[in-house]
Amino acid sequence: MPNFRGGVHPPEQKDATEKQPLKTAALPARVVLPLQQNLGCPNDPLVKVGDEVKEGQKIADAQKFIAAPLHAPISGKVTKIEKLDNACGFDTASIVIEGSGAATAYAGQWSVEELTPEQIRQSVREAGIVGLGGAAFPTHVKLTPPAGKQIDAVIINGCECEPYLTADHRIMLERGADLLYGARAIAKAVGAGRIIMAIEENKADAIAKVQLATRDTQLETIKLRTKYPQGGEKMLIKTLLGREVPSGGLPSDVGVVVQNVGTAVAIAEAVKYGKPLIERVVTVTGSAVKQPQNLVVRIGTTFKEVIDQCGGLTEDAAKVIMGGPMTGIAVASLDVPVVKATSGILALNKRDAQHYEEGDCIRCGRCLKVCPTGLMPNFLGEYARLKNWDKMAEYHVADCIECGCCSYVCPSRIYLVQYFKVAKRELQTRKAVCK
């Protein structure tokens, strides 16, 4: 089986939810919508406090290319536009909507063949779709190949290599038709002839299901070894096609577009029914969740409301994480809302949520062995402690994909990847200031 350099094998911990069918969560009575939920430019609100909004109505947008509009996930009244806690990592205000009306019906009308690439891109942009694997990059941007770049392959990413998460797994099992439609729409938008479904071998049922669904099509289903971060864009392209995205480059530089399976389904819904991105699948799991499930949740629902539908938290809950255990963000309270990037809510009990004390580097070299990018995390870590950002740039910190393998294996428990995130931001700010 093809492979990529480095990587780790954390315990998978998927058994609690991988057999749990997708379940639609109860409509929330109140939603909190941070104005910026994706990489790129922040949105401006299109509504004001007191306005009545309908489900699916666009409520915020930006006049920039790298941006994605926001839609009302429920019908109701805008009660607040102010700064509230969120876990997106952006310092932005949130729109609060209260009250929930009857759900809007979306009716299918388009087939991929009838649409032009531009129409597909337009539908995707207007639906506010961003990468649902966790990176939250505006999808229409990825569907717009830069001038002069020929895309020959689309990879639909069903690896879901993060431990605990099973949202993509369930989507592949239960949303086969939309997945196929979405994959075709993506290929049409970028003009690619080849579509590859990539699934890790620990999801045998999903592989069988997708293979069956794509039997008489030109889609290829490829089984990959279970290894973190197999689902990383660059690793995936390398494993499947043997191409390396150049340092500092994008997948389009090697003629590839990668989209997550959840994103493909969202694209299908947007293109086929004109449905904006107002809900997503969230895996609610971990040792501190009483009834782990895969819920279809409206964007803006608070963590508390989601967890309550899963039986609540156990007494010894110690840590709540948005996303998976490798790249997820710990949240301080359950008042934060589900956003477009929330692939999971992971609650760990005291035993699982260990706190790690940092020690000195003993130069064992494990971080170098597991780094899929070929960096030297040990030296980067030393330079980070000295705040020597220039030296870190020289050691290619900008190429770090922030997978966290280095921190995961470090016997001295050094928070390496956290240092690199800080350094990247620091270097970016400096670049912006210098311009």
Partner: protein, 304 residues
């Protein structure tokens, strides 16, 4: 309810630095046991003594510097244990004690403690002892009866006498440093560390391979070159030292090559019968340079 909000990743491998160090110490118990078997209770006392002195010295230095006491993290114990294994079994305890204190206080702590020392503390201490008490440091005894004799390397390369049998060399029934004689016991400990991936192949393979190849090219018996002296112990337990050897796979291979080359030069052309000690110390000095140039290939680029 309030939650822990530390940064990710939120899960880690179970093994930490402490465990890694104690695993190395455990692996060293095999050659140590062989040493006690061949050289008697005096060897046992020497091993326990240097280990205790090393740990106590680290604790004392840390107490004196008002730093957190981490003397029981296993690293000082490894240094003390390793030092005993590369000393003559009959060395007076007070000399061994000075060596152990020197290894920790001067070679390790003064350079910043765990992770920051340039030289392998045990090897640097041995070099220091050899310079200070050359006679005591080169007085060797035969196993079991403790009759004074020369080491096989000295017998063969300097006196041109017959070597002991390969079997005697392999199991350790010959004169030499306390823990270097039994290749069998060293290999058991090394296999354990390789199995749990505490150490890796590049440095030992390159080290032993280079010595064997160059010995053969120079007309010496390559198997004798491997089984005699401190080569196997040095290759698996000192050339693999995290702190003083390079961090990359490429770098570790180069480090092994250099150690092998220098060992051969010292053994056949130098004034000492054995060169493993100095070869590793010299390569320790080159480690920062090797680390600088032997980088892994960056994903998406042709070079590092």
């Amino acid at each position: 309810m309030s939650f822990d909000i530390s940064t990710g990743p939120h899960i880690r491998v179970p093994s930490d630095a402490r465990l890694v160090m104690w695993l190395v110490a455990f692996a060293l118990l095999f050659p140590a046991a062989a040493g006690v078997y061949y050289f008697g209770s005096g060897a046992l006392i020497l091993i326990v003594f240097t280990t205790l002195v090393a740990v106590a010295t680290e604790a004392a230095c840390q107490w004196f510097a008002r730093r957190p006491i981490t003397a029981l993290d296993g690293s000082a114990a490894v240094t003390g244990l390793l030092l005993a294994l590369i000393l003559p079994p009959t060395l007076p305890l007070w000399m061994a004690g000075i060596g152990a204190a020197f290894s920790i206080a001067i070679v390790k702590v003064l350079f910043g403690g765990l992770g920051f020392n340039i030289f392998n503390p045990a090897l640097a201490a041995r070099a220091f002892l050899l310079a200070s008490w050359p006679v005591a440091m080169t007085t060797w005894v035969r196993p079991f009866d403790a009759v004074t004799t020369a080491t096989p390397l000295y017998l063969v390369n300097k006196l041109h006498e017959a070597a002991p049998s390969y079997w005697a060399l392999f199991v350790g029934n010959r004169a030499g440093s306390l823990g270097e004689t039994s290749v069998l016991a060293i290999l058991i400990g090394a296999a354990l560390l390789l199995l749990v991936r505490v150490i890796d192949w590049p440095a030992p393979t390159a080290f032993i391979g280079t010595v064997a190849l160059l010995s053969w090219l120079l007309g010496h018996d390559p198997l004798f070159a491997i089984l005699s002296g401190g080569l196997v112990l040095g290759a698996f337990f000192m050339a693999t030292d995290y702190v003083t050897a390079p961090v990359t796979v490429k770098g570790r291979f180069i480090f092994g090559l250099g150690c092998g080359l220098l060992t051969v030069l010292i053994r056949y052309f130098g004034g000492f019968p054995e060169g493993v000690n100095y070869s590793i110390l010299i390569m320790n000095m080159l480690t920062p340079v090797i680390d600088k140039y032997a980088r892994p290939r960056l994903f998406g680029s042709k070079h590092a």
